[in-house]
Symmetry: C2
Subunit: 342 residues, 2 copies
């Protein structure tokens, strides 16, 4: 099993490396890459039970996405469905399992974009929507707008026949405890008058990016944001070009990390622009932006991406990132820790 | 007077053209460019009285900004102050004079960014803030976040000692009438099941971009958004990389137009990225993005921008755009119509 996994990893990186030799050759006819958040994820602080839980869920998500794409389904459908599964799992900071804002509520952000049309939809600060990514898709397809926030977004959801869920649906004990700890740290911080955010408070988020058999790309991101965030705070996840971007000319990307830096760096669009204008490969652009530009700003986090040729990248500057990849010519692979990043 | 104006226009464009010959030579030691919205602004549908009103207000704004920059003030201060003046004037779709959302409220968006640090702040959907651009600056300087929305943003304003104003402050008869007309058109549209937006409903917005004597760039944008927008809709104005972007390496930009397209095209960051990665001048990049890429998507609007050498661009694909420019070596010039765009 372990050998199989290592073999698969080797095959993926062989794919990535091979593309630098022949950048215009497709390496897969379809593919899917997902993340479940970046952060202080190390082998040392992850119990075998926890590792198994995440590993199994991420594999299940990959298998579902694979089936959709293999049957000729759209990248958009695969992205939405994969994110729905992570939103429904309390393991991740999105949907059920979302972190708490400073006011004790779960305020959810999400966005989705398709690379063929550059259409996009997003919602921010919704508190009664079970699957924010699906509402983001409805905003894209059924409204003249891209981004709807808070009660206005929920009014739109109701106009579209989406049932609102009780706020209690989003409650999880562990996230609530994390808010209490963050509030304690905030009290301590105030005496130092610092705006710094503790590492534990700023990570989470789920996302997916896919290439379908028709050569179309799509990406999406969904999150509860940052523990103890000021209520009303919008992070990078619902911002096109920051947390999510897709363009058939270049790639589809979803980000996770300290959102404010991803907004200021316009990180996902920056990677795409570097491919479009500087002729970089996805791997080169992602490495440059995440390892050099984002770091230079003081930002931490990562991205997952797939380009129009099927090349996949999972780049992060944190200790680890929950992530997984599958293509038509590789088995599903799930990774978590930094030492697996080449 | 007319000759002086034409001479000034010629000097500005001479400046722009000269830069294509020697792209690394500063053309001004400081400069300021502003806009008061793009749209169906033509000589034919603008009365001499209206032209005079806009012209005088835009000149006053330019003169104030010039004084700040000439005294060695920061680009950030100039941008904020200039936008404050337009927010306080009922002539523009921002602050006093903002358009109405479908729910009969004035929901205001704004953002500001400084090019040296890539710091940014933004607010979205505030309904009781007299000067949203100043609150955006406070978000940048006094919170760990970039973007705060709606009641959460107003709670932050109160924490910072900003007084909330009554919603009635934003009422203007002409904007209210426009909402009623838009609602009538919407009723007509529904029978055609179209999501198209009427040209009159999607324009407005004010913005400024400046270069100061220290070589620092800043940009800001403030708006009431789109007449009859779904409540909770966030446009491009508070989105970094869409409505506003500033980077000392490239340029400072503020956009106005049909916001959804500016979000999907990540328009202001795209112009900056084209300069950074493809080696284009500001003029070349702005023309390519506004006249070709934005148009190809079906998007309309424009941008004003200044680069780190003092080159100024005012590019739009609409009939006209209220706009003005002043630098240390040119008199203030105010323009409105398309025929003045070279």
């Amino acid at each position: 099993m372990k050998i199989l996994k290592l073999l698969s990893i080797a095959m993926i990186f062989a794919g990535i490396i091979s593309c630098t030799g022949a950048v215009n050759q497709p390496v897969a006819s379809f593919g899917l890459v997902i993340h479940g958040g970046a952060g202080t994820i190390t082998k040392e602080n992850t119990s075998p039970e926890k590792e198994k839980l995440y590993s199994e869920k991420l594999k299940e998500v990959l298998q579902t996405g694979y089936k959709i794409l293999n049957k000729g389904g759209s990248a958009l459908d695969a992205v939405e469905k994969c994110i729905n599964m992570m939103e429904d799992s309390p393991l991740f900071n999105s949907g059920k399992g979302a972190v708490f804002a400073a006011n004790g509520k779960n305020e959810l952000d999400a966005s989705i974009m398709e690379g063929k049309t550059l259409n996009a939809g997003a919602v921010a600060g919704v508190t009664h929507i079970k699957n924010p990514i699906s509402l983001a898709r409805l905003v894209m397809e059924k409204s003249p707008h891209v981004l709807l926030a808070r009660e206005g977004a929920e009014a739109f959801a109701q106009e579209q026949g989406i049932e609102l869920v009780d706020e209690k649906y989003f409650f999880t004990e562990s996230r609530w405890d994390r808010l209490q700890k963050a509030k304690q740290r905030e009290t301590d911080r105030k005496s130092q008058s610092s705006l710094d955010i503790h590492p534990d408070e700023k990570y989470g988020t789920v996302g997916a990016a896919a290439l379908d058999k028709n050569g179309n790309l799509a990406a999406g991101t969904s999150t509860g944001g940052m523990t103890n965030k000021h209520w009303g705070r919008i992070g990078d996840s619902p911002i096109i070009g920051a947390g999510t971007y897709a363009n058939n000319k270049t790639c589809a990307i979803s980000a996770t990390g300290h959102g404010e830096y991803f907004i200021r760096g316009v990180i996902t669009h920056d990677i795409s622009a570097m491919m479009e204008y500087a002729g970089k490969t996805l791997q080169q652009a992602a490495r440059e932006v995440i390892q050099r530009k984002l770091k230079a700003m003081g930002g931490s986090g990562g991205i997952i991406a797939i380009d129009h040729l099927g090349n996949v990248v999972m780049e992060f500057n944190t200790a680890g990132m929950f992530r997984g990849v599958v293509t038509d010519n590789s088995q599903p692979v799930v990774l978590m820790f930094g030492e697996e990043q080449k």
